[in-house]
Subunit: 333 residues, 2 copies
């Protein structure tokens, strides 16, 4: 029954629903962030870009927020978690690969000698990627990631990796989405690896995950069904200058907010703030050796040096983990 | 004021709003589709995947629909519109490029000799792409597309290209979105070209457009601002077997509905129906020489041969444009 009265009633109710939603949102949306200038900078930014009729209003379609993953949404010490996954995979595959015992970097990995793996350099790393991220269909890879995430534990914190995420960031992602933002991951990590947990863990669907990738080929499987096969060939590295390129390729729109934690995020942050209108660039500074880790300019993982200087000079929002975050990780499940 | 009563009231109102939306949707969502088995197949599919508790229910997050663009969402005769754009650009740039007068394929284009352009083959086409789609920043390219779309007219229909879209498909896109689907373009067309009109014309935002692309580099512009520069090098062709690869790369989830019109869509359709649960594969068959064009197995543009055979054999939904579409193009503005 569609008549004028029905329509008016619907619009009236829709209006009430909207005000009701606003009323419900009056509680602190970022309870794990300590009060201070960092939290205020975030809340003020969200407020001004969503204020209809205000000078800084941004249409919902243009409220694009991009987040690095390693060290920004979840931890990255003692090594990128995707590398820890690859090491576990090597160990699991080893019984069927007796030749690995005498071959670097596999010998080092199987002996628990991470320094040996590091010494094998980029060539060694690519061999590890080829052995654990290629030579299988995308579905098979998804299954191995799912299995690992369900069972593996962080070497020192002893928690599942999906609990090694930052509670303040989960709140920020939710707050942005509640304010009409579309949240994306833009990370140097492998896109298929991240898609294995991004939706459940961060509420970010696969189509909003931008990452590094290998070449994938379409082929007909043995059962006559089409499948996608992962080849041992790098296709795209979504890091440093690759990040704005990835943003352009996958999102096609410049973010108004970008959040990183290392020099690998510098170009994404530069590209973000170079747009017209209100922009917010944020950097997690790992300053908390007690609850998480403390590292920056000289770290082998997540080096933050140039971006820290440029961020300070340009007034970007530098999050001091120790001072700004009331809690780091979510409560154990 | 957040108390129990407020929450109950909010939930109650939210419930009423939801039912109201349902009531409003009782009118025919596809008025430009004639009644018959094609329209029923579409409406039945949408109904069954959205029926909560039903055997074919699909969660909203998994309701991914992918549409080819040329010949599926808008027309593609007498040539792909992006090629017509490139030809117009060549003509406009010609005064500053006197060397083109003696050089193929430019000489043919400037003489209005399309056969000469075709005769120059892939090499000629790549030269045209290099001259019109590269050697500039992404912003400069966006501006040239916007200018062309605002002023150019189709050579025989004399309408703006953004009015050469199919009204029945606009209704289908809207109906899918109203039912929780996320609609994507997956097309052989250039991704940046399509993003120039997809949002306004189809309601499909840039981040849901998958297409072919050239290499883009990040660099610091003369003004010290970062920019993205388009190079004359093909990066990815999103056609044929490239379509499922593009879907995996950009969307990361298998569609439950895919719509194409040519052999270039075959692998996307195969990949779509190979998934578990309900799937719908659709093909526009151009059968309407009067209102649009009639072509299939022997056409140079939008050849539909293998996909037509396979579609018929496997019971895919073949849209007979002449019989199934009440109107083809939207009313003139």
């Amino acid at each position: 029954m569609l008549n004028r009265r029905t329509i008016v009633a619907a619009l009236f109710l829709a209006g009430m629903c909207a005000s009701q939603t606003t009323a419900l949102a009056q509680t602190d949306p970022l309870p794990s962030w300590n009060e201070g200038k960092t939290k205020s900078a975030i809340l003020d930014f969200v407020r001004k870009v969503t204020q209809e009729g205000g000078p800084n209003f941004v249409k919902p379609a243009e409220r694009i927020a991009t987040f690095d993953n390693d060290g920004t949404l979840w931890a990255e010490q003692p090594a990128y978690f995707q590398l820890l996954f690859a090491i576990d995979e090597i160990k699991q595959l080893a019984p069927s690969r007796p030749d690995w015992k005498g071959k670097e970097p596999f010998r080092s990995i199987l002996a628990g000698n991470i320094k040996g793996l590091v010494a094998s350099g980029e060539k060694g790393l690519l061999q590890v990627v080829a052995a654990t991220h290629a030579g299988m269909t995308t579905s098979e890879f998804d299954q191995s990631v799912a299995k690992w995430l369900a069972t593996a534990r962080h070497p020192t914190k002893k928690r599942p990796y999906t609990e090694m995420v930052y509670q303040p960031q989960l709140e920020l992602l939710a707050h942005l989405r509640a304010n009409g933002f579309k949240t994306f991951i833009v990370s140097g990590g492998g896109v298929e690896f991240m898609r294995g947990f991004a939706e459940k863990t961060y509420g970010i669907p696969p189509e909003q995950v931008v990452g590094s990738s290998g070449v994938v080929k379409f082929r007909m499987g043995a059962n006559g069904k089409p499948e996608l096969f992962k080849e041992a060939k790098i296709e795209f590295i979504d890091d440093n200058a690759g990040k704005p390129v990835g943003i352009n390729r996958f999102i096609g729109r410049r973010p108004i907010l970008a959040f990183g934690n290392s020099d690998g995020d510098l170009q994404m942050l530069q590209y973000t703030v170079a747009g017209d209108g209100p922009r917010l660039a944020l950097i997690v500074h790992h300053t908390d050796a007690e609850r998480e880790w403390a590292y920056d300019r000289t770290s082998r993982i997540g080096k933050l040096d140039k971006a820290l200087d440029e961020g300070k000079a340009r007034g970007w929002t530098i999050v001091d983990m120790k001072a700004d975050w009331k809690t780091v990780f979510p409560p154990e499940r």
